[in-house]
């Protein structure tokens, strides 16, 4: 039994309110020898839409894939609704709908065959629901997946994930390759799903402006570590911007350069006289803090 599973024995109540957990999770890839994740502790509450934000290579996909059971933790563990994917993969997958970064569909098969494939793999797959959703989106069921636009492919992948009826959706940068309109459509489906069924959504992205509209929770990952986990409104309200070098060091999260501006400090403060950061500035500050060259201590973050 893994560490995560052992620790789950005494935390049934917690698992009722927490959809996704990572407990001391570290992942090192054997080939590269790099740590993709290092001592990650994270809890995603049920019914929330959480943005998982970080630069490329920060470890977002690794974290999501570990919840999916695609990656085996090097240390620590993860739980999905209290279940460790390494102990009970089927039990975990029953709770998860997943859209991967590549949204890889079967290029040679029509869209409708993807529904049949999903139904063949999962007895409770809602074929009619998925078909209806695709029709509403105007995606031709007879069109081959290889000839769909990036946005349509992402929407098909999302409809397949939604067709599982899983209470938790893991969306691994599905917006990265989409144009603004396609991103908007995609996020609308996510939002309506949350409104209809109260699903928990974890949306990984490095485009902050997109997640701002739909997410209520924010997790910032940088250099394999979680540097911030908080409701978005609290996170923004609890930070201020200051000119570089003008704040006590214990308040400083990081110093970063704003586009076309002077170096700016992100500080933990509720001082009403200081400017409130935008979500993008908040994220940039925490990403800057995660850089090894930045000497600012961020332990504890804003959790």
């Amino acid at each position: 039994m893994s560490e995560a599973a052992r620790s789950s024995n005494g935390s049934t109540a917690a698992s009722d309110s927490v959809a996704l957990e990572a407990i001391g999770l570290s992942k090192r890839y054997r080939r590269s020898g790099q740590w993709a994740l290092l001592d990650v502790d994270l809890a995603v509450p049920r019914g929330t839409v959480t943005a998982l934000v970080g630069p490329n290579g920060a470890g977002k996909s690794t974290l999501i894939r570990t919840w999916m059971g695609f990656e085996r933790p090097t240390r620590g563990g993860v739980r999905v609704g209290g279940i460790d994917p390494q102990d009970d993969r089927a039990g975990t997958l029953r709770q998860l709908g997943y859209v991967s970064q590549s949204t890889a569909l079967y290029r040679g098969l029509p869209v409708v065959d993807h529904l049949h494939l999903a139904a063949g793999l999962r007895a409770d797959f809602d074929t009619d629901g998925a078909r209806l959703r695709l029709e509403q989106l105007g995606i031709p069921l007879s069109q081959k997946a290889g000839s769909l636009s990036g946005g349509q492919a992402a929407q098909v992948a999302l409809c397949l994930a939604l067709g599982t009826g899983a209470p938790v959706l893991l969306l691994d940068e599905p917006l990265a390759a989409l144009d603004p309109l396609a991103r908007h459509d995609f996020l609308n489906i996510v939002l309506s799903t949350v409104r209809e069924g109260g699903a928990t959504v974890l949306l990984s992205s490095h485009i902050v402006s997109d997640v701002e509209a739909v997410c209520d929770q924010l997790v910032v990952v940088g250099q394999g570590r979680v540097t911030l986990q908080s409701p978005i409104s609290d996170a923004v309200a609890g930070h201020r911007l200051m000119p570089a070098g003008s704040a006590p060091s214990e308040q400083v999260v990081a110093t970063f350069a704003r586009p076309g501006g002077a170096p700016t400090m992100l500080v933990r403060s509720t001082d009403p006289d200081l400017p409130i950061p935008s979500l993008e500035e908040l994220v940039m500050g925490y990403l800057a803090a995660a850089r090894p060259s930045n000497g600012t201590n961020t332990s504890g973050g804003a959790r």
Partner: protein
């Protein structure tokens, strides 16, 4: 299930079409050649040759020449039969997992499949069914071809074990299993295809001949070439000359096809040529004459190390069981690999 099979075929339409066309073209070709030979309907009496190597019975020469002309053209199909099943096995086996990993569709499929074994079964069974049907047809055609080639002689050879009947089916399934496993481990179709082909080649050229060699050593006897080939009245000893067995009807060593120990096989030959060993003192003229005869006998006759044709079934069975076992283990291991590996 039918829909799942149809989807699998559509996913692998190139491999499926290529294999079906290859098998069909080859099957028609083998059928045609074997039919040509069988249609000659050569009587058994035409097969024996006289001491000059000509066909002994009058009226057989033209028939036999026509037969040999056709059978000479059957060389490529004979080789092709041995190669085709493993090639098709690899083509059908390697991409089942490797292609999906390569195209990253495993990310989608494995996120939907509560049990990956179910996903693998849905992909594997249609390919396996297609392969089995194709190999069984090919094996039957192989038997037909070799029976046509050997009509009247019943001369199966070790080199053709893999080109006919159930052994061909087993060799094809072995290649499919190894291809499947290699594809699941490597996760890239082309490198896996090359690697699996090397493994199958090593199996066919080293492992099987090694096993055959050990079996052969336990069964082989020495016989004279004079008596081992097809001659009227030649001994009932199978003959492995250039890789071929020959069995004939009456002769030494007991019942036709029975395994004959070396001593028993030689003794009657020497006794027939030199008579029994004289029961007199060593330097007697009778003994000297016997020794001279014996010496001449050994000097004149070429000896062949052969195995009885009755043991041909042993070779087929062992080849088949080994191939199916290794292929089956490879398929089972693929389930373990798929259950544990990353989707990309």
């Amino acid at each position: 299930m039918i829909r799942a099979a149809w989807l699998t075929y559509r996913m692998h339409r190139f491999e499926v079409l290529f294999s079906v066309v290859l098998l069909a073209v080859f099957a028609v070709w083998v059928w045609f050649i074997s039919s040509q030979m069988l249609d000659l309907d050569i009587p058994g009496t035409c097969w024996p040759r006289d001491v000059n190597g000509d066909w002994a019975q009058p009226g057989c020469n033209d028939l036999m020449k026509e037969f040999w002309a056709i059978s000479n053209g059957a060389g490529f199909p004979r080789t092709g039969l041995a190669l085709l099943a493993p090639i098709v096995g690899l083509i059908l086996g390697v991409p089942v997992v490797a292609q999906e990993i390569e195209m990253r569709t495993t990310e989608l499929a494995w996120s939907l499949a509560l049990r990956r074994s179910r996903w693998l079964l849905a992909r594997l069974l249609p390919m396996l069914a297609l392969a089995i049907v194709g190999f069984v047809v090919l094996g039957w055609l192989g038997d037909r071809l070799f029976n046509a080639l050997d009509v009247g002689r019943q001369s199966p050879g070790l080199t053709e074990v893999a080109s006919r009947g159930p052994t061909l089916v087993a060799r094809g399934l072995l290649a499919l299993g190894i291809g499947l496993l290699t594809g699941a481990i490597v996760g890239r179709t082309l490198p896996a295809l090359v690697l699996a082909a090397i493994v199958v080649l090593i199996w066919s050229l080293i492992a099987v001949p090694t096993v055959q060699g050990q079996m052969y050593d336990g069964r082989a006897v020495w016989v004279s070439d004079t008596d081992s080939g097809w001659r009227e009245g030649a001994p009932p000893i199978a003959y492995l000359g250039g890789g071929y067995f020959h069995t004939s009807q009456p002769g030494i060593g007991g019942e036709p096809g029975v395994r004959v120990p070396e001593d028993e096989s030689l003794e009657p030959l020497i006794e027939a040529a030199c008579g029994p060993y004289p029961e007199v003192y060593d330097e007697s003229p009778e003994v000297m004459a016997y020794e001279d005869c014996n010496q001449q006998f050994w000097g004149d006759i070429q000896w062949s190390h052969v195995v009885p044709a009755s043991t041909y079934g042993d070779f087929k069975l062992v080849d088949m069981v080994l191939s199916l076992t290794v292929g089956g283990i490879a398929i089972l291991l693929t389930f373990v690999v798929v259950a544990r590996r990353r989707p990309s």
